[in-house]
């Protein structure tokens, strides 16, 4: 078994950012990702990002990924990267088990950062398992990574930022977005994204949901229904729409499984997307020297994941003896950035959720 100073699980925005700041302190990092390439979901994000310059605002997501990857590559003497490798075990004696090329490898770590991200939620409706019904992330992956169209005529379900942005990306790729459904009375994501779609002629139907999918071997029609103010379906408002694809964008939930295996205290917090770890102000979980960063700690925008990564990387490195002279100042800057990103009305849910997972040790 090999000993590693800091192991980071997940090479998305949070993991890459964490590897970079940790390596800057002199700490040696092993960064593990299960995909053939680093960057997580950022590599499929074709839109320009919000936020401020510190979080690479107005840069397209895929170019932010390139920047974060190249930052990590400048520290190749201190950051070792293994792609195509899945961390399948986390044990109490600070050991992880990694599956890579059909072989298992065990590593002991001094500190660990879990940055596994989030997975897509599903929506319950009749025949929701028909091929042609995808998660929004899958549609992005197919289109923007592999250059394959998910269909020609699609209905999007969910008006959060992901649903709005992926609809726009579908139109850029030449797909006809026939409608965007939202069960709530209001559009969930940024209105600027919604306005972009509306001026392209996309119908945004609030208080409307998908009731069932129809098709044999593949979806070819869906039935929508309107909802009343108490979210009950209104009989007689059913409509059929011909489609060859349906995209489900009803949110993400944190991929907490490794944390559960390790025994970190978890809590169900709907505002953060599901099961999330209890953490302190430096993103350390209830297990000593195990930290988290990004969506696994609560689903947010990628901008926040990057800043959380920078913060956790520094904090984890400091915890095992790599404390920089300006440590406190840097941490305070990252905390302030996160506060800024979360301080508006759109951050209200996140703020409420994060309050529920702050470790008691903070008090």
């Amino acid at each position: 078994m090999t000993n590693k100073e800091l192991i980071i699980v997940g090479g998305g925005p949070a993991g890459l950012a964490a590897a970079y700041t940790a390596a800057q302190t002199g700490c040696h990092v092993l960064l593990i990702d299960r995909n053939p390439q680093m960057g997580g979901q950022l590599i499929k994000q074709t839109h320009k990002f919000f936020g401020s310059e510190k979080q690479f605002a107005k840069t397209r997501g895929l170019n932010i990924a390139k920047k974060l990857i190249s930052d990590v590559e400048t520290c190749s003497d201190r950051i070792e990267i293994i792609c195509d490798a899945t961390v399948v075990g986390l044990y109490a004696d600070q050991v992880v088990n990694v599956l890579h090329n059909e072989k298992y490898y065990k590593y002991h770590f001094d500190a660990l950062i879990i940055a596994t991200g989030a997975g897509e939620k599903m929506l319950a409706f009749e025949n929701n398992d028909l091929p042609g019904i995808y998660g929004a992330g899958a549609v992005q992956t197919l289109m923007n990574l592999y250059g394959v169209l998910p269909g020609q005529n699609i209905v999007m379900v969910g008006s959060g930022n992901i649903g709005l942005i992926v609809s726009y990306q579908l139109i850029q790729a030449g797909v006809h977005v026939k409608a965007l459904l939202e069960a709530a009375p209001k559009i969930g994501g940024y209105k600027v994204h919604a306005s972009k779609l509306r001026r392209l002629g996309v119908d945004i139907l609030t208080q409307t949901t998908i009731q069932r999918a129809i098709g044999n071997g593949c979806v070819n029609q869906i039935e929508t229904i309107e909802l009343d103010d108490s979210w009950k379906p209104i009989k007689g408002t059913e409509k059929l729409i011909d489609v060859d694809a349906v995209c489900i964008a009803v949110g993400l939930s944190p991929l907490y499984q490794l944390l559960a295996m390790g025994g970190a205290e978890l809590k169900y917090v709907p505002e953060l997307g599901g099961m999330v770890p209890i953490v302190d102000g430096l993103h350390q979980t209830t297990i000593n020297n195990i930290f988290v960063a990004g969506d696994v700690a609560g689903v947010e925008e990628a901008s926040s994941a990057i800043v959380e990564g920078y913060l956790s990387g520094l904090a984890a490195a400091a915890k095992i003896g790599y404390q920089q002279p300006d440590y406190q100042k840097s941490i305070a800057d990252y905390q302030q950035q996160l506060k800024n990103l979360r301080s508006g009305p759109f951050g209200a849910k996140i703020r409420a959720g994060l309050k529920k997972v702050e470790a008691k040790t903070n008090a």
């Binding site: 839109h47 320009k48 990002f49 919000f50 936020g51 401020s52 310059e53 605002a57 107005k58 840069t59 397209r60 170019n63 139109i171 850029q172 009375p185 209001k186 559009i187 940024y190 209105k191 600027v192 994204h193 919604a194 306005s195 972009k196 779609l197 509306r198 001026r199 392209l200 002629g201 996309v202 945004i204 609030t206 901008s303 800024n340 990103l341 979360r342 301080s343 508006g344 009305p345 759109f346 951050g347």
Partner: protein
């Protein structure tokens, strides 16, 4: 209305336009109607005409006198929520962001589209600009009849 359909009300739209006499020179029209954490419009403006302040959730405020209508903010806004507008004789002239193929050709006639996605007029494509700095967001200069000043928002290919 904006909350439900994505379409701003005519009052919201007008509130973002300077007085017509100020539009004899191009000015930025910033259609950012909610507090979201974002500030590239402000940081990209070479004339410091767009103020957001320390809290990046604030909505941008345009200083009309400082704005030259250069259009840099138009392609910097991640929400594609900014255009410039100018009144010249009987024409309203806009610079709008565009991210679809095919790009409009200068001197061609495209459909002018309103915020509700409806075709409302002919739009004459004046100029199409794409530099590296714009990062694949094309800046299209387009003229329409002046009476569509508050309605026009984008262009659409006649064949669509």
């Amino acid at each position: 209305m904006l909350d439900k359909t994505g379409v701003a009300t005519p009052e919201q739209v007008k509130s973002r336009f300077p007085q017509p006499e100020q539009l004899l020179k191009p000015k930025a029209i910033i259609e950012c109607y909610e507090d979201i954490p974002c500030n590239p419009c402000s940081t990209s403006c070479p004339f410091h005409a767009i103020e957001i302040g320390d809290d990046i959730n604030n909505q941008p405020q345009l200083n009309v006198d400082l704005c030259t209508g250069c259009g840099i903010c138009v392609t910097s806004c991640p929400g594609l929520a900014i255009m410039t507008a100018e009144i010249r004789n009987n024409l309203a002239i806009f610079k709008i962001p565009y991210e679809f193929l095919p790009y409009p050709e200068p001197n061609s006639i495209w459909n002018g589209v309103n915020r509700d996605g409806k075709v409302i007029c002919d739009a004459n494509i004046v100029k199409v600009l794409l530099t590296n700095k714009q990062d694949k967001t094309v800046l299209v200069t387009v003229s329409v009849d002046k009476k569509y000043l508050y309605d026009f928002v984008t262009v659409r290919n006649k064949n669509e």
